[in-house]
């Protein structure tokens, strides 16, 4: 008896501890759960204003990177963990579409230029370009490289650090960029030359950018695969715009959403003028909406890459990704 | 204090195919001390643990007055238990150990600890750490701890066998006095008959899971129920004898046993049944000798057999020397079921 009381009391204590830290959750139908990746960010005041005007409470649930997010959506499609998802990128889009995770919705503000197909299930929200970044003062007199070919030039021996496409999303984008540039039969040869030129492969962006890259003060390598937007935050660096690979991030209303009406409004919000204007500072990506000005610092340090076609068709990526990564592994690590 | 005679009936404990305690009946009167005596492995400790409720496999009944203990969990049986090696709580001091049972039973008796320490002869030990006590002191504390909540029955499992000999004998005497003074019924398990006879009012002899004989020390000593019991109680030699008019006549001669009934019996000879004596009637040759504390134990070749005998330390002959022996009636026991012994 005493035992039961002790156990019950402890369970109560436990429960109260956790519940105390939880914010009260509105139970009304006007809650929309936004499932997204870890990099999602929005200025609080902006979100508050939207919530006030629309009467919708947005609950943000982040889970992993774009890949993890997509896979979670696929796994839970029978009973989705939210109403709307943002963050499925061009690499994973066709998987999500094939698995029927999203329902159609065409927002009046959608930029048709980035439309994937005519089913209107995914709406482009932002553009993130992955490019080689150079630490301009770390080159020690060598002229800045500009193209993919330059990177294999012995002038830049032991200067480049990249992320593994197997474990890193920018790493995969860079690999796809080389495949786009050199073709399905030419990229292997290029990587062989990169390897001979002393390319260093690490597992993730954090390590490449914060540990190996000389631009952040710690590392020794002045060339790193990062984002076109990175120079906005790191002085004396710039992106090599000819080495970029474009990744577009999409949002969509989930199939089986409990509040599809509200979800559509949230999607409209994501491509609204105000939200788009803050996308660079909040998430280090470029807005998809036409006519949205970039912040001043960006215009100088990180202008948007102009090659809008620098991307492979989603279907092709989905079909070949595993095969390409495996080839790359045996080529570079074998 | 819970009072009432303890009645054990048909108590059986099995471990798999082994029957450790087999259909045992035993009574312990109010305030009586009973010793459970037997060779190691005979099941006596198991029997004691079954009475305490520590053997879940036990069958049968254990009644105290109107209570059926067998259905009670250990902590409600109101028994005290003293192990061979104290098993004092190492994280409590002496007083804390003794007070334990009082706390469990919510007994508020501030003088009890001092009273018990007086009883066991350790006055002033209240604050001592139990890990710093000697073995004998630990056993005294263990006894005090077991007695503190005034149990209806005290169970002592080889309480003295972890101690050295001198201490054991002294403590046996003390323990006997303490048990009498506390007035608690007690069941003492031991393999040492001296200890059993010192402590107990009555002795129950156990062999292979069964109680083969119960009686007072004298009864058991003089009338072991069968040959194995006689052997266990120190009779090295068992012979046929014919008793006529209080005199037993057998192979080695005649001996006066006024307490023995008429008829043909087996008699058991303990070593001191044969005593070295220059005027003794028996003639033999010493084949071995061992010094004991207050006598010498001899192995003597007597015609066609070897027998045990004793001699005083002063005149014990060397091996190889001749020796004369006489019979001492005190060293004789009569073997056989009690029913045949008309004296009783």
């Amino acid at each position: 008896m005493l035992k039961a009381v002790v156990v019950a009391a402890t369970v109560l204590v436990t429960a109260s501890c956790s519940l105390a830290t939880e914010q009260p959750r509105p139970g009304n139908a006007q809650t929309v759960t936004l499932v997204t990746h870890d990099s999602f960010a929005v200025r609080k005041e902006l979100l508050d204003e939207f919530q006030k005007n629309s009467g919708i409470t947005v609950e943000v649930r982040k889970s992993g990177d774009a890949g993890a997010l997509t896979n979670q959506l696929v796994l839970t499609k029978a009973n989705p963990i939210g109403d709307i998802a943002f963050g499925v990128d061009s690499t994973f889009a066709s998987r999500a579409l094939n698995e029927n995770v999203f329902q159609p919705y065409q927002s009046p503000d959608a930029n048709k230029r980035y439309q994937l197909d005519d089913t209107n299930r995914l709406t482009a929200v932002d553009i993130g370009d992955v490019c080689v970044n150079v630490h301009t003062t770390g080159l020690k007199g060598v002229p800045e490289p500009t193209t993919f070919e330059d990177l294999a030039d012995p002038k830049y021996k032991d200067m480049l650090v990249v992320e593994s496409p197997a474990t890193s999303s920018p790493g995969l984008a860079f690999l796809l960029g080389t495949i786009l540039h050199f073709g399905a039969d030419g990229w292997q040869d290029y990587w062989t030359r990169l390897k001979a030129n002393g390319v260093k492969v690490v597992s993730g962006w954090e390590e490449a950018y914060n540990q190996e890259f000389s631009g952040t003060g710690k590392g020794t390598r002045p060339l790193v695969v990062s984002y076109a937007s990175s120079p906005a935050a790191t002085p004396d660096t710039k992106a090599l715009l000819e080495t970029c690979y474009r990744q577009i991030e999409y949002a969509g209303v989930l199939q089986g959403a409990k509040n599809p009406e509200g979800a559509r409004k949230v999607l409209d919000f994501l491509i609204s003028q105000q939200f788009q204007a803050e996308v660079p500072d909040q998430m280090y990506v470029y807005p998809v909406r036409e006519g949205v000005a970039l912040p001043e610092a960006w215009q100088k340090a990180a202008p948007m890459p102009t090659d809008t076609e620098a991307t492979l068709p989603a279907q092709e990526v989905d079909r070949n990704r595993e095969n390409w990564v495996n080839q790359w592994r045996s080529l570079v690590q074998g | 204090m819970r009072i009432g005679n303890l009645a054990i009936r048909k108590l059986t404990v099995r471990f798999g195919s082994l029957t450790a305690v087999d259909d045992v009946d035993l009574d312990i009167g109010n305030g009586e001390v009973v010793a459970l005596l037997g060779p190691s492995g005979c099941g006596k400790s198991t029997l004691l643990r079954a009475v305490a409720g520590l053997e879940p496999q036990a069958e049968g009944t254990v009644r105290r007055g109107d209570e059926d203990l067998a259905r009670m969990p250990v902590h409600k049986r109101g028994v005290g238990l003293v192990f061979q090696d104290g098993q004092l709580f190492p994280h409590r001091d002496v007083a804390g150990n003794i007070r334990f049972g009082l706390r469990m039973h919510k007994i508020n008796d501030p003088g009890r600890v001092d009273e018990l320490l007086d009883l066991v002869g350790l006055s002033g030990y209240q604050r001592r750490k139990v890990t710093e006590l000697s073995g004998g002191e630990q056993q005294r504390v263990a006894l005090a701890r077991a007695l503190a909540p005034r149990p209806g029955l005290l169970l002592l499992d080889e309480p003295l066998s972890a101690l050295d000999r001198a201490l054991r004998e002294q403590l046996a005497l003390d323990l006997a006095r303490m048990l009498r003074k506390a007035g608690t019924s007690a069941l003492v398990v031991t393999h040492d008959h001296d200890e059993a006879f010192t402590l107990a009012d009555r002795v129950a002899l156990m062999r292979e899971g069964r109680i083969v004989q119960t009686g007072t020390a004298e009864e058991v000593w003089r009338h072991p129920i069968d040959e194995p019991t006689a052997t266990f109680l120190g009779c090295g030699l068992i012979l046929d004898a014919r008793i006529i008019g209080g005199t037993a006549r057998f192979d080695l001669g005649d001996v006066h046993l006024p307490w023995a009934p008429e008829g043909t019996h087996k008699i058991g000879l303990r070593p001191h049944a044969l005593v070295a004596d220059p005027d003794g009637p028996l003639q033999g040759e010493v084949s071995g000798r061992v010094h004991r504390r207050d006598h010498v134990r001899l192995l003597v070749k007597l015609e066609h057999r070897e027998v045990d005998a004793v001699a005083t330390i002063a005149d014990a002959p060397e091996p190889g020397h001749p020796v004369r022996l006489r019979l001492d009636p005190d060293g004789f026991a009569l073997v056989g079921p009690r029913e045949r012994l008309s004296v009783f």
């Binding site: 992993g64 796994l75 597992s203 390590e207 909040q282 | -």
Partner: protein
């Protein structure tokens, strides 16, 4: 009594894992199992885990001796320092080792894994060592044995259960270590754990991941069974005594061991110091904010508070589960080893597998736990419980059962017996276990990163996030947060040390 922990384990571990593995159980699994690449992966995983375990034990034993047997000033501090590595998020330790050993390769993986786990060895073995009667050793010495001989002939066998126990835990931790291998192994060295993550999260190759999960599970079970067999019946009844009587100033050759222990301590401190030296005043100041361009949704301090409350919940829950399991394990006969192995399994299964398993199962429970903040302490408790059992069980088993029986006959009900005998005698170990569990929950990264809500990140999650976003301020803040985590750990360890001595003198 075993039902509560087993039920919990079934609900929050077995079911999700079976569900996610079942989802991938297709013919394609066989391709993965047949590939030689897979078997190399298994070989490397087990090899590095075994090597790390050996290193951790070699380094942990002198520390255990120092903590258990030596009366030297600064003991509390040593105890605290040993614990620190355990709470550091893997991603941070990985970076620190990368900085210290730029071309370390396999060795840096082994050393980093050992670095994490020295605490397990020092505390598990030290716990039993402190409670072991010194007289047996003295007896051997008196019989002419040298100190070393007395150690190998008397002390070591007595400590074997704790060493076996610690080795099993360390092996599991190392064979499933994720962040360290990912960062230090670069793209070159992979283990089952990183490959499962890769296949599940990136490639969505569920059959491949399921095949690897099954292999991982098999390897873990094999290791556990071997450990259990080795431990079996060696947890003999030891004479337990309080620490005051077993610790003394080291003499003679013992100073050599003490010297080695301090050497290990210096080695442990190296990565820690390198981390602390990278935190700056700006970084600490930034903790009250949300980082460069609001990288975090809450302030660093808020994340720290979340960490504390989540770890408290997880520890309380794990203590309940761990204590119940330990009691049940002690009482169970033959099936005890089985339950023991079952309780250890969560240490050997990828957090990714469990996390994805939650996604497809927990919506069936009332209240859709998939998105509940309660999930974090629940998951952490599952990781912490086996540790508590490991620490508690050897000590509980070494309490003479007759002591409990004596208490029983004196009128103590089974619960009272536990409270009056087991609890005080195992109290030190229980406090150790709680402290350890708390610290592990504090630093837990794998499962938490899957389950923590972004508006309630724990400190390690915040650190992981800060370090993955550009901006010098974020990096500084991350290192400052690491330092904060270490300070909290040391504070907890020192506090518990205080609390412990007062508890013991009652």
């Amino acid at each position: 009594m075993a039902l509560v922990p087993l039920g919990f384990l079934t609900l929050f571990f077995a079911w999700p894992v079976v569900a996610i593995v079942g989802l991938g159980a297709r013919a394609a699994m066989l391709d993965t199992l047949a590939s030689s690449d897979t078997w190399q992966l298994v070989g490397f995983t087990l090899g590095q885990a075994a090597a790390s375990t050996v290193v951790a034990i070699a380094a942990g034993m002198p520390l255990a001796f120092l903590l258990a047997r030596c009366k030297l000033p600064g003991r509390g501090l040593v105890q605290a320092i040993v614990l620190v590595p355990f709470v550091l998020p893997a991603v941070v330790v990985g970076l620190a080792f990368r900085g210290l050993m730029p071309d370390g390769g396999v060795w840096s993986i082994i050393l980093a894994n050992a670095f994490f786990n020295v605490a397990v060895v020092a505390r598990t073995v030290g716990g039993l060592w402190a409670n072991t009667d010194r007289r047996a050793e003295d007896a051997a010495r008196a019989l002419g044995a040298s100190r070393l001989r007395a150690f190998t002939a008397v002390t070591l066998p007595a400590l074997t259960p704790a060493i076996g126990s610690a080795a099993a835990v360390v092996f599991l931790f190392c064979s499933t270590s994720f962040g360290v291998v990912l960062i230090l192994g670069g793209a070159e060295y992979r283990t089952l754990e990183t490959e499962i993550y890769l296949r599940t999260v990136q490639l969505f190759d569920l059959p491949g991941a399921a095949a690897l999960s099954i292999l991982q599970l098999a390897a873990v079970v094999a290791a556990l069974v071997i450990g259990a067999v080795a431990r079996k019946r060696r947890q003999a009844a030891l004479k337990l005594r309080g620490r005051q009587e077993t610790a003394r100033r080291p003499v003679g050759g013992e100073w050599v061991v003490v010297g080695i222990a301090y050497g290990v301590l210096v080695l442990l401190l190296t990565p820690i110091v390198s981390l602390v030296s990278q935190s700056s005043v700006e970084g600490f100041r930034a903790l009250s904010g949300t980082g460069h361009d609001n990288s975090l949704e809450v302030t660093g301090l808020r994340a720290a508070m979340n960490s504390l409350s989540t770890a408290t919940d997880a520890t309380v829950l794990a203590l309940i589960l761990g204590v119940l399991s330990s009691i049940a394990l002690m009482r169970l006969g033959r099936s005890a080893e089985l339950v023991d192995v079952a309780m250890m399994l969560p240490l050997g299964v990828s957090a990714v597998t469990v996390g994805f398993g939650y996604l497809i199962t927990l919506d069936a429970l009332p209240g859709d736990l998939r998105t509940s903040p309660l999930l974090v302490p629940l998951a952490q408790a599952i990781v912490v419980t086996p540790l508590i059992i490991r620490i508690l069980l050897p000590v509980l088993r070494s309490i003479d059962d007759r002591l409990r029986q004596a208490a029983g006959t004196l009128g103590a009900s089974p619960l009272r017996v536990w409270l009056e005998v087991d609890l005080p005698l195992a109290g030190r170990s229980l406090v150790t276990a709680a402290a350890f569990g708390y610290v592990v929950a504090l630093g837990e990264f794998g499962a938490t990163s899957f389950l923590a809500r972004p508006d309630a990140p724990t400190l390690p999650i915040a650190i992981g996030r800060l370090i993955s976003r550009p901006g010098e301020l974020n990096t500084q803040m991350a290192y400052a947060a690491c330092t904060l985590l270490m300070v909290v750990t040391i504070a907890v360890a020192v506090l518990i040390e205080r609390f412990r001595t007062t508890v013991e003198e009652f």
